[in-house]
């Protein structure tokens, strides 16, 4: 309390004359301190924080999970694309020799992977064996089946397949070329519909996440009202007041993103065994694909961004209203 002590502190550097490098380090320190403080505040109330994380996690996991399912379905249908064969029925009077050479010619084409010739007699024998309708076949005067070429095309898109079908049907030896793409088209439009529905759901749920976080931060602002007033009274800028609140939003969003990634991973894990058993039963090599590490990290990042967005929304709306009175 001696005047000498007072003299030592007054006079020289005033706050506004701080060098930029120093100010930068102070700024960074306030960032790390705000981050640590708000994390500590979030962890101080483990139950209510966990609830918030779960709400956000579920809201993010729901559309993500559906997206994973759709993604797997489209991979599955991609695998089904391959056996999309063209069945080329030849004229009834076509000879086996001509049919065989036509198969060889067609197999040379770039857009055809392979062409298999199926003899009409062989086809009838197979039909009799498989269907067990031998008596019916014996009653027939002659073999009603034409020679058949099974074409395995290279092309994948429905348009090119249709074009190929038209070309084949135009050949003089060919009576009819059939391409069963209708079910594929239906599946694809169903998938498009599914994707659109998931996008809509995702947009709604993400908006909900932002609002939930905004409300959480609004409560945080209310509970820190006195502190905000004091900080403003001693010259705290808006950015200074905002910083810990934005970090609070970041932590809630980040935690929610982690919960979402865990939920999706758990769901994938639970579904993997039955799906693999199912695809084994169909002799398919299909395996359920989860999110993977990179996508899971993106999910966490998304959560963090939503948290920041929610906090920003709340801060922009409510912070200006708190002024020292």
């Amino acid at each position: 309390m001696a005047p000498k002590a007072a003299k030592a502190s007054a006079g020289n550097a005033r706050p506004r004359q701080i060098r930029w490098a120093q100010r930068w380090r102070g700024w960074r320190r306030h960032h790390s301190q705000s981050a640590a403080d708000s994390l500590a505040k979030v962890l101080q109330q483990p139950v209510s924080s966990a609830m918030t994380w779960l709400v956000i996690g579920i809201a993010i996991a729901l559309p993500t999970g559906l997206w994973v399912v759709l993604d797997n379905l489209s991979q599955l249908s991609g695998q089904l694309d391959r056996p999309a064969q063209l069945s080329v029925f030849l004229q009834m009077d076509a000879q086996a020799q001509d049919a065989r050479s036509l198969a060889l010619t067609l197999a040379q084409r770039d857009d055809i992977h392979s062409a298999t010739f199926i003899d009409r007699d062989q086809a009838l024998t197979e039909f009799v064996q498989r269907s067990g309708m031998g008596e019916l076949a014996q009653g027939l005067a002659e073999n009603p089946l034409p020679h058949l070429l099974l074409i395995d095309p290279v092309a994948a898109s429905p348009d090119t397949l249709a074009a190929l079908r038209g070309e084949l049907e135009a050949l003089p030896e060919v009576q009819e070329a059939l391409l069963d793409t209708l079910w594929l088209q239906r599946l694809q439009s169903l998938m498009t519909l599914g994707r659109r529905a998931v996008q809509l759901l995702a947009a709604l749920l993400l908006a909900a996440v932002v609002l939930v976080l905004g409300n959480t931060i609004r409560l945080a602002i209310e509970s820190r009202r006195d502190e905000i007033v004091i900080v403003k009274l001693v010259g705290g800028t808006d950015a200074f007041v905002r910083r810990p609140l934005l970090y609070t939003g970041l932590w809630f969003g980040l935690g929610g993103g982690v919960v979402a990634a865990i939920l999706v991973a758990l769901g994938t894990l639970l579904l993997a065994a039955p799906v693999n058993a199912l695809s084994g039963a169909y002799q398919s090599s299909f395996m359920l694909q989860g999110l993977g590490l990179v996508n899971s990290l993106q999910l966490v990042l998304l959560g963090a961004l939503l948290g920041l967005a929610g906090a920003w929304l709340a801060v922009a709306r409510h912070l200006k209203a708190i002024e020292p009175r």
Binding site: M1, A2, P3, A5, A6, K7, A8, S9, A10, G11, N12, A13, R14, P15, R16, I18, Q22, R23, R25, G26, W27, R29, H30, Q33, D226, E227, V229, I230, V231, K232, L233, V234, G235, G236, T237, D238, F240, E323, P324, R325
Partner: protein, 225 residues
């Protein structure tokens, strides 16, 4: 350093808190502001801190017309002023150190400097041994001294105090007033609102008296009246 030019402040309920107040305070001057409660002491301090805007007139602080300050530049203005509040206004969930460090943090000081300056400020108010104490564990006088340490830690050019000795016993009050006198001696402009006439008249500094929003004893007014 601080000058009021015919400043009036009328609140929404048509109550005139200040009427045509004019005075000016030089650097290194310590001035007391007194008057009954409701006479306009707090309003006057709030105008200097830009917590309020005058209805009429001009307030000039450190050469800057406060009427020209936009909302965004208020924080910087407040950073240059140290304020001691009547009800302390401490962060109750933070230790003494954090409370005193707050203005330095806001100004962007490094931790090393903050540490040094906070300790120096607490040493000055005699609370160096309570650095890590929580405000609630301190007595009223100690809390007030934490508030003073926070007000001076950023080495402001202007120090305002609103009833700084409000609930303190006479001995402690005299001690705290002596602190303010020390600050004014090292170049700080000090303005103290207090109704403790007995105490402030002993200290022989200029006294501004407000009565129903008017200045009744302007020792030096800018129009020389």
């Amino acid at each position: 350093m601080i000058s009021f030019e015919r400043v009036s402040k009328r609140y929404d309920n048509s109550h005139d808190a200040l009427r045509e107040v004019s005075f000016s305070i030089d650097q290194e001057e310590l001035v007391f502001l007194t008057g009954h409660s409701g006479a306009g002491k707090s309003t006057l301090l709030r105008l200097i801190m830009l917590m309020e805007r005058p209805s009429r007139g001009r307030v000039v602080v450190a050469g800057a017309d406060l009427g020209k300050f936009r909302r965004g530049s208020i924080p910087r203005h407040r950073q240059s002023i140290g304020v001691v509040f009547q009800n302390h206004k401490l962060l109750m969930d933070r230790p003494v150190f954090d409370n005193v460090a707050l203005p330095l943090q806001i100004a962007g000081f490094e931790y090393r400097d903050i540490n040094r300056r906070v300790n120096a400020a607490l040493d000055k108010v005699g609370l160096l041994d309570r650095v890590q104490a929580m405000p609630l564990s301190l007595s009223g006088g100690e809390q007030q001294r934490v508030g003073i340490a926070r007000a001076v830690v950023g080495r402001p050019s202007i120090l305002l105090a609103d009833e700084p000795t409000g609930n303190l016993d006479p001995e402690l009050s005299a001690e705290i007033m002596q602190l303010f006198v020390d600050f004014s001696r090292v170049g700080v402009t000090v303005l103290i609102a207090s109704h403790d006439l007995a105490l402030i008249s002993r200290l022989r500094h200029r006294i501004l008296t407000l009565k129903e929003g008017r200045l009744v004893s302007p020792a030096i007014s800018i129009d020389g009246a």
